[in-house]
């Protein structure tokens, strides 16, 4: 599991933070090339995510186009997972980028990655849509109306091969980390993230004591964090 500690692709500030923290041995250097995340030390001419957000903030819509090319798949994946059908997932992605465009001036690089920011925007818009839908369904009484669509053909959008390698590897790491959680920890965290449930609602849903759910969320998230630090979305170079 040393591979996941490879942090050469992270920005210097972040590396410093890791060096200050309590649990890290020096990362092995031989695995750096397996992380095709933007690398501030490399000669790549691709603009950093945070620069794209800064350009969006001053009204450059081509920056949104580039962010779309980088993260549309991630946003679409989370949107689809939450809303369960294509048309709504499309709507969520459009709304999420529109919000990113509006809020670009408020993005604070110190508080996380652009990809994380975009992802959390998409998640919120998707949860909003599901809540609005369930309100509508409560009113019209046709909760069973929406059947999930067939999955869209993989590869319908070519994207960037390097990005997709990055995504594949990151996804593998995330799944491996989730696999290390206890099933109840994983369930509690997934209910919170994908269904937008509060801890009390999770306790109610699972018929478990609230304190137990809180412990599962806390320990599970801490474990995931420790495990996933090396594959965090670009911290913004």
């Amino acid at each position: 599991m040393n591979a996941v500690r490879a942090c050469g692709a992270l920005d210097p500030g972040y590396r410093l933070w890791i060096a200050d923290s309590h649990n890290l041995a020096a990362p092995p250097r031989d695995t750096l090339s397996s992380w095709p995340m933007p690398n501030p030390g490399s000669a790549t001419s691709l603009p950093a995510d945070r620069d794209l957000v800064a350009r969006a903030a001053i009204g450059d819509e081509t920056a949104i186009a580039q962010l779309y090319d980088r993260y549309a798949t991630v946003l679409y994946t989370v949107a689809y997972r939450i809303v369960g059908e294509r048309a709504d997932a499309d709507e969520v992605v459009v709304e999420a980028f529109a919000q990113a465009w509006r809020d670009a001036g408020r993005f604070e690089p110190g508080r996380g990655s652009v990809a994380g920011w975009l992802t959390m925007i998409a998640r919120s818009r998707a949860l909003d849509l599901v809540r609005a839908r369930s309100r509508r369904e409560r009113i019209t009484g046709n909760a069973a109306a929406d059947q999930p669509d067939e999955p869209p053909a993989m590869g319908a959008w070519p994207g960037n091969p390097a990005d997709s390698l990055d995504r594949t590897e990151r996804r593998r790491q995330v799944l491996a980390a989730l696999g290390e959680l206890s099933p109840p920890q994983r369930t509690a965290i997934e209910l919170a993230f994908f269904e937008g449930l509060s801890q009390s609602e999770i306790a109610e849903r699972l018929n478990e004591p609230l304190g137990t759910v809180k412990t599962r969320v806390r320990l599970g998230m801490q474990k995931l964090r420790d495990r996933l630090r090396p594959v965090f979305f670009d911290q913004g170079s």
Binding site: A57, W157, G159, R167, F193
Partner: protein, 267 residues
């Protein structure tokens, strides 16, 4: 030094990053965050962790047309509103509580703005209704003033009534209120047939046996007309008043037979 309280509130970070706290817990935790850079760093990392959950499910590819939809939407909103603010130099640390307060204010402001927008459009509608009513009122007001003037001239001392009628038809009627002191008259017509286009009614005074041209007038669809301030010719004896139909603009001499006529009282 951390206290047991600190520890228990710090435990909320993970659920906070997932948005899974109750509203009360969220407020308490944000108050704590405002004073703790370590906690903010903790939350930033836990948020990144949460964001990675997005890629855990089966990967879904957006359709190829979605990119254009996103860009169209962004371009459309570019014209509606430019992005909130241009890029700024890194901000000083502002406590989260302040942001929470600002966010709450923003929510209130947006609510108020919506309310104002609704009220404004209601007001615009009301304004136009009021304007229309004011115009109607002012029209009625000027009609009333005209009536008032007519009535006043009718009730002046020395006003005499000359009634013009049509032979063989009791309906059409013209009343001429003739102020003999001022040599003016007010004409009030009722139940006259509207004239064809290019034609008009003309009033004549018969002075010393000869017609003297006076005002022309048209009647409404109902056949009525009011003309005030009609000058009554002087310099001779007015024996009668008459009305003919003439080309628009009137004539110097009657070109058609008399339609209505009434004799004036002797002075």
């Amino acid at each position: 030094m951390s206290t047991p309280d600190d520890a228990s509130i710090r435990d909320l970070a993970a659920a906070y990053a997932l948005g899974a706290l109750s509203p009360e817990e969220t407020r308490a935790f944000e108050a704590y965050l405002a004073g703790s850079p370590e906690a903010r760093q903790d939350v930033a990392e836990l948020r990144e962790t949460a964001a990675l959950l997005a890629v855990a499910g089966p990967e879904r590819q957006p359709g190829p047309e979605l990119r254009q939809r996103v860009l169209d939407r962004v371009r459309a909103s570019k014209f509606a509103t430019l992005p909130a603010t241009p890029a700024r130099p890194p901000r000083s640390r502002i406590p989260l509580m302040v942001w929470a307060g600002l966010a709450a204010l923003l929510v209130i402001a947006v609510g108020l703005a919506n309310r104002v927008r609704v009220l404004t459009s209601t007001l615009v509608v009301r304004d136009s209704t009021i304007a229309a009513q004011q115009q109607a009122l002012s029209e009625q007001g000027s009609q009333l003033a005209a009536r008032e003037q007519i009535l006043a001239s009718i009730f002046e001392p020395g006003v005499q009534l000359v009634q013009l009628t049509k032979q063989g038809d009791p309906d059409p009627r013209i009343q001429l209120f003739w102020d003999r002191l001022r040599n003016t008259a007010v004409l009030h017509a009722s139940k006259l047939k509207p004239t064809p286009s290019g034609r008009t009614y003309q009033l004549w005074f018969i002075r010393d046996g000869k017609p003297v041209p006076s005002v022309t007038f048209d009647v409404t669809a109902e056949g009525s007309a009011s003309v005030s301030g009609v000058t009554v010719p002087t310099g001779g004896e007015i024996s009668a008043a008459a009305v003919t139909e003439e080309p628009t603009g009137g004539s110097q001499q009657p070109t058609t037979p008399i339609l209505l006529v009434g004799t004036a009282p002797k002075s």
